[in-house]
Symmetry: C2
Subunit: 309 residues, 2 copies
């Protein structure tokens, strides 16, 4: 029954997404639908819906627009990321910038972001402040990552700062907004917020591992993207750079870098780190009352850590 | 004394802008300061401040963050526009993308936009809904413009639709938010809103004329940019395309197109259109009570129509 309610929530999120991005500017509508309809995992809106329920919320439809807004932030960043990464595919489909060109991809990302703002605007200041803060952090994280990529190396501390801002912040806001809207007590909001923060860290670490060892067909996007952008270097045992992409001069450096990385033992270290963060998420979750929604949040942790896409 | 109050308001806007864009991510801080400190006309925040005063507002400091947010929307779009237009200069300085590269310019524009959201978030839903709507329209207008540019021609109706969305919407929101925050009656809010809408149309029309006949040194940016992007074609007497950039095959088509346009009589038609809109702005303004702020809003119309930069 819980699954029904959450699945209904996700369906309602999809409907709001489609309605929200509709516009008489055909190109924006088509490009937005292309990426929104390309079937992401919808992990972030699920977090909002489940946190709302786990915090005692009764009327799931009131939290749906918030959940949709969270997914739309993520979608907007994918469109801009793909421009910066020159990625030709996303979720197994052609990327927006490959299909419509750079100018329109830039505008589509901007458009999706203004639509986040439109969805959020009717909510109280509390939610808008939380969401604005997460969006600021997200762009800061992306920028730190692009800087690290340009420098060709990165240390462990910077890596954590990057994934905190670019991924964990939005996860955290997603859960916190859901819990707050349920009107639950502060300790529950705080525990769900902590849970989502660690889930976000683990999620991103696994994402970066999949970028090295994943199957591009299963992932629906090319691998090695983050490695070539300097991110792979983080998963070293001693917190030092395993490889320095500025020293790789071959024409196809990604293959070589991926091989080096796989042989370095770094993947195992990264997986252990993800498990540690997953454990912290589990501990935070144990601080809230038992419920079917809590069980599902708990199983999300395993899903995130053991996924292959 | 009014001038003192407004100038104090603008100084307070500058302070908020500098504070707001501060971050520990040095690159975002530097690139944001570069564009924010490059001395724009600050026309939009002036509109917010003056509308607040003209509508009877007493405590100008309460409206300052709104005015700053409006300027920041404009600034964010400049950074992204310059990427799409490949402009190397802006406000007489090197553009963000020319200085920091495309990836960081994209992220800087995103960052400035998230900071708009951060500034607006503490305000009531009314203001956030207005601002979100203006931002959506702005991106829609930019997209319609980019589409017209790609097609190489444009008709008069589409031109008006473009400038309504990309320019007049934000002017309108700027004035309306100021008037609403002053707590004035609906007819005053409506008149100020209409005034700003027509001022925005006139402003953009003059901007496009300056793109053809202006002095690049005075403007602080290259001319012919909009012409080469298909915008110049609008100012034809019969509403048809004066020139078709897809037929201009010379290596430096801008010069030729500018010359054709200057000789076509289109500039005079465009100026007449701007004057008509300026008149509508004046009429709307006459619907609100006399005040020093109203006088200043009135003189803004002349400033916008007769400017050379």
């Amino acid at each position: 029954m819980l699954t029904d309610r959450v699945d209904d929530g996700v369906i309602a999120v999809e409907e709001i997404l489609s309605q929200t991005i509709n516009t008489d500017v055909n190109l924006l509508r088509d490009a937005s639908l292309h990426i929104v309809d390309s079937g992401g995992k919808r992990l972030r809106p699920r977090l909002t819906l489940l946190s709302y329920l786990a915090a005692g919320g009764q009327n799931i439809s009131e939290v749906v627009p918030l959940a949709a807004a969270v997914e739309l932030v993520h979608t907007a960043t994918l469109v801009h990321d793909d421009i910066n990464d020159h990625s030709l595919t996303r979720r197994g489909k052609i990327s927006v910038h490959a299909q419509w060109g750079r100018t329109f991809a830039l505008l589509t990302g901007d458009y999706l972001f203004t639509k986040v703002y439109e969805l959020m605007a009717p909510y109280d200041a509390t939610y808008n402040i939380l969401m604005a803060d997460a969006c600021v952090k997200l762009v800061e994280g992306e920028t730190l990552q692009a800087e690290a990529a340009k420098n060709g190396s990165i240390d462990r501390e910077t890596y954590k700062l990057i994934i905190e801002r670019k991924t964990a912040s939005l996860f955290q806001a997603a859960a916190k907004m859901g819990a707050l809207l349920a009107g639950s007590e502060e300790s529950i909001v705080e525990n769900l917020s902590q849970y989502a923060y660690f889930l976000g860290l683990a999620f991103q670490m696994v994402d970066d591992v999949l970028d090295v060892v994943g199957d591009p067909d299963v992932l629906g996007k090319p691998i090695g993207n983050d490695v070539v952008h300097g991110m792979g270097a983080i998963v070293n045992q001693n917190g030092n750079t395993v490889l320095d992409r500025t020293k790789v001069t071959e024409k196809d450096p990604i293959k070589i870098m991926l091989a080096q990385l796989r042989e370095s033992g770094a993947i195992e270290v990264a997986k252990a780190q993800a498990s540690e963060w997953a454990h912290h998420a589990q501990v935070a979750l144990s601080g809230i009352p038992e419920s079917p929604a809590r069980d599902e949040l708990s199983s999300l942790i395993d899903l995130v850590v053991h996924r292959n896409r």
